[in-house]
Every structure is written in C-alpha cells, then in structure tokens.
C-alpha cells in the first residue's frame, strides 16, 4: 500500500451537522501532537450525505479510501491502522461505485475534492483557465455563441436558454450593466446551490466574470439566502482572494476588463427567487415582482440592463469554456444538454447530492443511485420542483430527466429538489403542505394568488380533517387552473401544481378522505384512531406510563384500552409498545 498523502474531511453544512467538525478537530489534534505528519484538509460536500461524517485518505497515487459515519473514536483507529499501519479499516470503509458509478460530475467536479477556501487548489484544477482564455483570445460575442452552442439552459427551474438570455443584455447599450447570481435557494428540500457555494465558490465567481465579459457588465451581485452563513463566509473569502490575485476588480489578468462582485444576503422571502422581486430586494424594497416587459435584460437593477442566472447555471460556464460546447452537448438529450444536480431526500436510502446526465430515467436515480426506499417500503411518488413542481407516480417513474418530458407529466425539472415518498406519505397532506407554503409566501400582489391559494388551502385542510365535500375536487382543479392563468409571476403561476398533479395521479386518495373519511397512509390525524389489539397486548403498562393525557388504562380482560375521547393521537403508545399491539385504524367506525 502506498503511503497516505492527504486527509480530507467533508465540512459542508450537512457534514458539520453530522459531527464532522469534531472529527476534523480530532484529526488536527493528532497531527499537532506529532503522531502523523499529514495535511488535514477541509473539503465541501462530496454528496454522500447519508454517510457523513466522511473522511477520505488520499495516497501518493491519488487513490482515495473513503470512510463513513466516522466518530472521534474512529479517528484513532484510522490513524493507527491505516495511516501508521497501512491496513484498510474495513468495517468503516464505504463503497463508492453504486452511488457514483452512473454520475457525471461537471458542476460538482471539485466538490469534496478541493479546499473551498483555497484559490490555489481551485487553480490547480484548471480554475480560472476559462476566464484567462476568454479574456485573451475571445470577443464577448464568441463567448455567447459558445454558451448558445452548448445548449445550456437555466438550472433555476424555468430552463430558459442561457446563451440567448445573455445575448439580450449584451445587445443593450447603457452606462452600467449588472450580472446577478441568484443564490436564493428557496425550495424546501433543495440544497444544490448551498453545496456548490460551500464546496467550490470560485467556480461561481468565475462563471459570473465570464457572464459579465459576455454582456459587458462591470458590477455583479450574489443574492444569497441569509440562512446559509457558511456559504456567505466562503464566498467572502473567495472574493478577497480573487481580488488579491487580480482575478476580480480593475484590469483583470492584465486586460482592460474590470468587474467586481458584492454579496447581498437575502432576508427570507421565497418570492425573491423571481427575477424582478429579487431586484426589488437588492434595491432595499419589499420583494414584490413587477410586470414584464420590460425584462431585466433591458431594465433591471436600478433601471439598468441586468442578467440574472442561477448558481448551478453559472457553475457550468467555466467548464463549457474550458472544454468547449461540444463536450458539454455530448451529455443529455435533444433539448436538454449537460447534467443536472439533484438533492435526493425524503424516504430514500442514500440521501444526498447527485449529478446525473440529462435524460437519465427517474427510476435509475431513485433505485440505483439512491438505493431505493428506506426499509424497503413501497415507492409511491417522487416530488420534483418543490412548491412549483409536482408528484410523479410509480407509473411514470421511467420518465427521463428532460425539461420537456417532465413538463408533460405536470411536474418540472425544477431547481433540483427530489423528495422521495413512500406508502406512509399521504398525498393530500403533501398537497396541503405545499399550498400552506405558497399561501404564506405569496407576496399578495395578485388577487388570484393571494386569495385563491388561501381558498385552496382551506379546502385541503377541510379534506384532511374529514370534512370534504363531493365537489371539492372539481373546485380545487378549477380554481387551480385560474390561479395559474391570472398570476403575474412564477410563484402564482405554479403554486397549484402540487395539487393538480396529486389530484390527477392520486385521485383515489382524495376520494378516500372525502367519501370514506379515511387516510390510507394514516397521516391525517382527524381521520385516524389508536387502538390496542387485546390479543397482542401483554398488559405491561408501558403505554399507559407514556401517555401524556392519561387516556390509557388497564381493562378487566388483562389488556389495556385507549379512551378515544381523551386520546390526542400523539403516537407515543405506538412507539413504546414492545409487542406492536398498538394499531392505527382509519375510516368510518363500523357499527
């Protein structure tokens, strides 16, 4: 075995939450004590969040041995056995092939590999080579043509061709133009942009500089969620380092091109993901969208031509300029080129961050890369695109990830959230959850969005409470369509999607709630009741002890019973029962 050359610890938000900082500290102490003489390097998210904390040992030939679920105690074993003893610690080692085998890493090529706070490491991976080449050898029009030819489309959700968008702002003549990076990743269940910013911030800055050169801008903003403090810190460090190295600022790389970037921390408003609302927010106002046209490309920030791209879109650009449009377009389908990053979460075994070539069927992502459903339960649906997207049922699980193919299902590629749902998820409750979200996040400007989503939410709440009416479904669908038609911005135009897709693919679940007062997934509390099976109950009394409202008592026959009148359906009895005697019933009570 060749000697270990470097130790990497994944220190993105997810890794830190799983305890990776303590693991890194322990490694550092070991190094400081002189036991090992190795660099301990922090890296971004490697993608295998389900294995965090992750420690990679890299040997002289560049080969990686990966250890997962590493604790502080494990650190000593890894040091003792692997670093000093040259023996792999087999029970801690994790397999990469199943998870990474089908992935193509363009956006995430450096995530989990380089130290995100080191400009040198980014440059060692050919970072800023694209910018250097462009500034010395190409005109802005050349850059736009290459991005057009690559087929890159906006990764924030709408899928607008990036090169075409740049050409609009490039055509404008103005004293000042702006490039904005939209890092207001608001979809619940999505963390792609956070991972890129935390794991490879220079890549985004380089992408912005390339966009700025192409459209003729000299100022840029990164509009990033305030909930991402680590991403902000790493961006600030990257900005400082890039300025010192003359990669940003006046006269970049000795040319006449000048461009600098400011960070604007968002203040928590989902609607600010919409371009015109985001601009209003940077200008210090309430983040409310306005009518388009004029589009930001002609009149955006402070009334000047402005180009806005999402983090992932910009992170693709340096790669495209380095490898050429053809290499990028070699991945993907006819209309959707390149790769897409997805945040896999929910009831999935391997939750984490994956990058797949466009065109890969959802089945392959969920079952091969994602390892299928937790505890081998049945797959029910995958929710894509967050509150703007929809639920794709088992019957459509072979749909490829492609803008047009997914749109045909009623869902969208979206920004990249992919929440896997199993048979214990209630689809009516999921629809209610998203409507609750969009209803609260609606800025209130358009009546259909403000009032319509409220009415839809009330209807869904009624259905979940067992008070649904026979005509509720028709009313939901009718109102949903009207909200889509009569809202100004993307929030309202897509808000009904979670309801429209679930009523289409899971109509039977809605009907069970409305007609039978039953929640088949046993999620909606008003429709379930807890019951102790007298045959299985051993009268141990643990349930009665755990009950917070004293609703459980011993009955004469040597078993316990639950008083339905007192029960608050907290489910604690079910959790504590060692004999699985507590069952959940739903539907009308048999007379």
């Amino acid at each position: 075995m060749t000697p270990v050359h470097e130790v990497r610890v994944g220190l993105a938000t997810c890794g830190i939450a799983a305890g990776a900082q303590r693991v890194a500290d322990r490694l550092q102490q070991t190094a400081d004590a002189g036991r090992i003489d190795l660099p301990i390097k922090q890296v971004g998210c490697v993608g295998m969040c389900f294995n965090e904390p992750i420690v990679d040992l890299v040997d002289d030939s560049g080969r990686i041995t990966r250890y997962g679920h590493v604790t502080e105690a494990d650190v000593d074993r890894i040091v003792e056995e692997h670093v000093l003893g040259s023996r792999i610690v087999e029970d801690l080692q994790i397999d990469n092939e199943a998870f990474f085998g089908d992935q193509v890493r363009i956006v995430l090529e450096n995530c989990g590999v380089i130290d995100p706070e080191s400009l040198e490491e980014y440059r060692a991976q050919d970072g800023y080579v694209g910018l250097e080449k462009v500034l010395h050898e190409m005109t802005p029009d050349d850059v736009i043509e290459i991005v057009k030819a690559s087929g890159l489309r906006g990764r924030g959700g709408a899928g607008f061709p990036t090169g075409l968008k740049w050409s609009f702002a490039a055509k404008e003549t103005a004293s000042e133009k702006y490039v904005i990076c939209n890092a207001d990743e608001g979809d619940p269940g999505a963390f792609m942009d956070r991972s890129v910013l935390e794991g490879d911030p220079h890549r985004v800055l380089e992408g912005m500089a390339l966009a700025a050169y192409a459209i003729g801008a000299s100022h840029g903003y990164v509009y990033v969620r305030a909930e991402y403090p680590l991403a902000i810190r790493r961006l600030e460090k990257a900005l400082d380092d890039a300025r010192s190295a003359r990669l940003l600022g006046e006269g970049i790389l000795g040319t006449s091109f000048s461009f600098d970037i400011k960070i604007k921390a968002g203040a928590g408003a989902f609607v600010c993901g919409e371009e015109t609302a985001l601009i209003a927010s940077i200008e210090g106002r309430r983040g409310m969208p306005r009518k388009r046209p004029p589009y930001p490309a002609s009149s955006g920030l402070w009334g000047k031509p402005t180009n806005i791209n999402n983090v992932e879109t910009l992170a693709n650009v340096p790669w495209i300029l380095r490898h050429g449009a053809e290499a990028f377009a070699a991945h993907g389908t006819e209309t959707s080129k390149g790769t897409k990053v997805f945040a896999l979460a929910g009831k999935i075994t391997n939750s984490g961050l994956v990058e797949i070539p466009m065109g890969m069927p959802i089945r392959q992502i969920v079952f091969d890369i994602g390892g299928g459903i937790q505890d081998d339960r049945p797959f029910k649906a995958v929710q894509m695109g967050g509150p703007s997207g929809g639920c794709i049922p088992m019957s459509l699980v072979d749909t490829p990830v492609d803008y047009e193919a997914l749109k045909a299902t009623g869902a969208i590629v979206g920004s990249g959230g992919m929440i896997v749902l199993d048979d214990s998820t209630c689809m009516v409750d999921v629809a209610r959850y998203f409507l609750d979200f969009t209803q609260k996040e609606s800025c209130g400007k358009c009546t259909f969005c403000r009032v319509g989503t409220k009415r839809m939410l009330e209807t869904l709440e009624r259905i979940c409470a067992g008070d649904g009416h026979a005509d509720d479904l028709d009313k939901l669908i009718d109102l949903g369509k009207k909200i889509k038609q009569n809202s100004l911005c993307g929030l309202g135009q897509t808000a009904p999607n979670p309801v429209l897709t679930t009523t289409e693919y899971f109509r039977d679940e809605y009907e069970a709630h409305i007609v039978d007062q039953a929640c088949p997934a046993k999620v909606c509390k008003p429709l379930i009741r807890f019951h102790i099976d007298p045959g299985a109950c051993k009268n141990c009394g643990l349930c009665a002890k755990g009950c917070p409202v004293d609703a459980i008592a011993a009955a004469d026959g040597g078993y316990h019973v639950i008083d339905g009148e007192l029960c608050v359906k907290c489910g604690r009895c079910e959790q504590v029962c060692p004999f699985d005697a507590v069952e959940i019933l739903t539907g009308k009570v048999e007379a």
Binding site: G186, D187, P188, A226, A265, G284, G346, K347, G352, Y433
Partner: protein
C-alpha cells in the same frame, strides 16, 4: 471604502435591508428605535422601513429568548415527521411557534428549509444544527441547554 463614502452608501435606499440585518445582529431583534434609526439614515419614511421589516421572515420585531430554536419545516423534514417533534417541543416549553418562554431561555421559530435534508428531521438551536431528531431526543437536547444555563 473611506468613511465619507461609507456614510453616503449607508444613506442609499438599497441599504435598508443590510442596516436592518445589522440592527438585528446587534440587538437580537429589530426594535422600534432601530426602525427609526434606519429610516433616518436612509431618508426613507418609517412606514416604508417597517414594511420592509415585516415583509421578510428573517426580521423579528420582538426580543427573542436566550436560545432560539429554529425548527425546519422543509419537505423532507415534513414527510419524516418533524410535526411530532414540533408538537413535543411546544408541549415541553409551553409556548407556541413564535413564542418565548417566561424565563426568557427559549424561543421557537419555524424556518422553511435549513438545507440539510439528508439529516431530516432537523432543527437548529442558535448556530448548532441537530439532525434526525425525535420527540424524545428533542427533550434531551433542551435539557442540555437548561443545565448549561443553571
């Protein structure tokens, strides 16, 4: 940036949000005085600054407890049972979401998504993130903060 330029920049309407963020960072919340001060410094009416402060979910207009518990209400957390965790939390502390305990130790807030979906259900207490929480483990977590402060 020179002092004079910094002063000029702080007077532009674009700095309303950063100034409110700074005020909240310093005081823990946006007080009435802070709104008046931001209005003075940017030349905007108080009503406009108040409108901005209430539009964005980040801003708190009431003084929070010593520890702020942010419960994630993202999709992954929702389907993996954060509801039961939140229920136990509010029961244990005797306050609803948005409330502060009488001893001023804890406040509960809900957030849209903390972005660590693979650790769902998740919550944050101050700057510390806790993953895969259960109704029982949340009680233990609270206990560790109570001990620390007693």
């Amino acid at each position: 940036m020179g002092c004079e330029q910094a002063l000029l920049a702080s007077q532009s309407p674009g700095s309303v949000i950063p100034l409110l963020q700074e005020a909240q960072e310093n005081e823990g919340f946006v007080s009435e005085e802070a709104i008046e001060s931001v209005a003075r410094r940017t030349g905007m009416p108080c009503s406009t600054v108040y409108g901005v402060a209430t539009f964005y979910s980040q801003f708190r207009l009431k003084r929070p407890g010593r520890h702020t518990i942010r419960v994630c209400e993202g999709t992954a957390c929702h389907v993996l049972g954060v509801g039961a965790v939140l229920e136990r939390l509010t029961e244990e502390l005797g306050i609803p979401v948005g409330g502060t305990t009488a001893d001023g130790l804890f406040s509960i807030e809900s957030v849209r998504c903390l972005g660590c979906c693979s650790l769902a259900p998740a919550l944050m207490i101050d700057d510390e993130t806790y993953g895969r929480v259960t109704p029982d483990s949340v009680v233990e977590i609270l206990e560790s903060y109570r001990k620390e402060s007693s």
